[in-house]
Amino acid sequence: MKEKTRESLYGYLFASPIILSILIFTIIPVFTALYYSFTNYSPLDARKYEFSFNPQDALSMHLGFFPDEQGLTVEGLAEWIDVELFMDLDVGVNLDEEQVALVKQHLDVNRLLQDFLDGKLATEMPLKEFMGTYLTQGSEKFQRYVPKWVWLDNFNKMLHDEYFWISLKNAFFFSIVVVPVQTLIAVLLAVVANTPIRGKGFFKAIFFLPSITSSAAISMIFMLIYTKPGILNRLLGIVGIVPVDWLENPATALPAVMIMNIWTTAGYFMVTFLAGLQSIPTSIYEAAEIDGAGFNRKFWQITLPLLRPQVLFVSIMGFIGCMQVFDQIYFLIKNIRNMTTSFYIYQNAFQYGRMGYASAIAMALFVVILAITMIQRKLVPDEAYF
């Protein structure tokens, strides 16, 4: 084998697991989600053909007869059967108009009733198998769930959905406050830690701690701190602030979560900045001091401009993260008016069973994040990423 072929072969051997995995779990799903966003995909409907029922009982219930009663004939029973009602009420499956028409036209009533009278009807059968057995034609319409293509209905609905806009506004509000505040705190801490102090490692470790904790556990801890008789209100009471029910009050709930978010990330970003600061030669500061520059001037005119790549990196990462904040909202936000977009996507998909609509919102969030990232990328040199 030629060296080049062998290298290609090993290249694919080494890379194929990760290529396959990313194709299956990231790239194809992106296109699937795009497809969903133009349909009315509903997880309940998606399972309906797999759903098992008892045809014997359902038919007996519908007709009001037991198969072993005397004097029943197929012809006699056929007068009692109403296919549409039977599917809807006794089988209990939600079919669209086209499917109802199909069943009405092609259900082999005679065969069904004959099996019923002979006691040959199964006592448990998935719907798709039932249709395959008793429809004379068109049973392929009941084999695989195909969500209805609704064109731009989801996006249209989104534009008029008050809660979507509230959620997007909240996500923006969250990011626009959290990102600058955490960045500023992080830069200030880094500047302070960049002085010749002892125990730098200790400070770095402690400041890093909040960012490695589980957001679920940390949310519970902050829930305790934020309760009305809790420690935060007691401490604020010392300076005369009236107790607030931080998480129950719609005006303070989101800011309370924001403060917690800043607490978890500021120290972590400080470490990024400290690394950046340590690469700034001290001679620059010495020169500035000779020129009589004070702390303020040095901070704004030397430190911040030289930290620009890190500041932009941190604000982009922070912004992308904040726009998608989920765990903390899930645990701490009770009022629907305080939720963020990613939480609204979760609610629609997994609580309301509207996966098509949820996918449309996810697409919108994607576009918003993409647009913001593009704007920020224009401002930052590429090498700051990797």
């Binding site: 080049k4 290298e7 090993y10 290249g11 694919y12 080494f14 890379a15 990760i18 990313i22 299956i24 779990f25 990231t26 799903p29 992106v30 989600a33 969903y36 998606a46 399972r47 801490l189 830690a193 102090i197 470790a205 402690i206 400041f207 890093f208 701690l209 909040p210 490695i212 904790t213 589980s214 957001s215 679920a216 556990a217 940390i218 519970m220 829930m223 305790l224 008789p229 809790g230 007691r234 607490w263 120290g267 972590y268 470490v271 702390f295 990196f313 922070g318 992308i320 998608q324 899930y330 645990f331 990613s342 996507i345 979760y346 998909a349 996966m355 996918s359 996810a362 969030l365 990797f386």
Partner: protein, 291 residues
């Protein structure tokens, strides 16, 4: 300002932020060790009010909120929930995902850093473009895939979609690209095959990068909440975070239990972090953990 006053100012500022960083842990710890009720010196059973103000702390004898500290809330968590099972599930989930990343990301990273194969650039750019896709976009299709494969409430459903990732691939690729070619050239001259070069030359010197990636993935998976929330609906299959979510719906009024459970989820990762700090703070992994 003299150098000395500057330093004093720095210590004060950093000290205040140390207090802010540690306070939630300390406070939840105090509550977790406080009993729900206790028998006082007169033999009367007393409830403990953890919201009392000012709180009564004493060193001799040790008293939290006027009561002797105990471990009973921690024991109670194991009693009223399958907490041990949740720990096992979380260890399996985080462990398998970490192993998956270490093996597959490093294999892939090596291929993308050092080997030439057709369509390499195409795949690379395709992967690069996925970095900006929010997790919520792929969540629904991947969840449906798991449902169709009958993977709900199974370990397969938990870890299979998480086994590799573009971030880990890029991290390893970046690291391998930094290794001088000359290291491999000699072995190549001696006729060593590609796998042999990878396993005997590249892997042994990649330990720091692997450690950083492994710790970062283990931590992220241990703390992961949304995916276990979706994939598990049976109590026995919960991970710690999903279990905490279930636990709070029934016991949220008993703060002692809640804090004991929360701390038991948090502290193992604090230990991991403190043990492996050098990989963390100094590695490239530190530049993209969470937002």
């Amino acid at each position: 300002m003299t150098v000395k006053t500057k330093l004093i100012f720095a210590y004060i500022a950093l000290g205040i932020y140390v207090l802010i960083s540690l306070f939630p842990f300390v406070w939840s710890g105090l509550i977790a060790f406080t009993p729900v009720n206790f028998v006082d010196e007169q033999g009367n059973k007393q409830g403990v009010d953890i919201m009392e103000w000012p709180p009564e702390f004493k060193l001799f004898p040790l008293r939290f909120f006027g009561a002797p500290p105990t471990l009973e809330s921690f024991a109670k968590v194991f009693e009223i929930t399958p907490f041990a099972r949740w720990i096992l599930n979380t260890l399996l989930y985080a462990g398998l995902v970490t192993i998956g990343h270490l093996v597959l990301d490093s294999l892939g990273g090596y291929a993308f850093a050092r080997l030439k194969f057709p369509l390499k650039n195409f795949w690379f750019l395709l992967f690069l473009s996925t970095l900006m896709i929010p997790g919520h976009v792929t969540l629904i299709p991947v969840y449906n895939l798991m449902v169709n494969m009958d993977f709900i409430n199974t370990y397969w459903g938990l870890f299979l979609p998480k086994l590799t990732g573009v971030f880990g691939l890029f991290l390893m690729r970046q690291f391998f690209m930094g290794i001088p070619h000359s290291l491999e050239e000699a072995a190549k001259m001696d006729g060593a095959s590609i796998p042999r070069r990878f396993f005997t030359i590249i892997l042994p010197i990649s330990r720091p990068a692997m450690a950083a990636l492994g710790i970062y993935i283990f931590l992220g998976t241990w703390n992961d909440f949304l995916w276990p929330l979706l994939i598990t609906s049976q109590k026995e299959m919960y991970t710690l975070t999903a279990g905490l979510n279930f636990f709070r719906s029934s016991y949220y009024t008993i703060w002692q239990y809640m804090m004991a459970a929360s701390l038991m989820i948090t502290l193992p990762m604090v230990a991991v972090f403190l043990g492996a700090q050098k990989y963390f703070v100094e590695s490239g992994a530190a530049s993209g953990v969470k937002g």
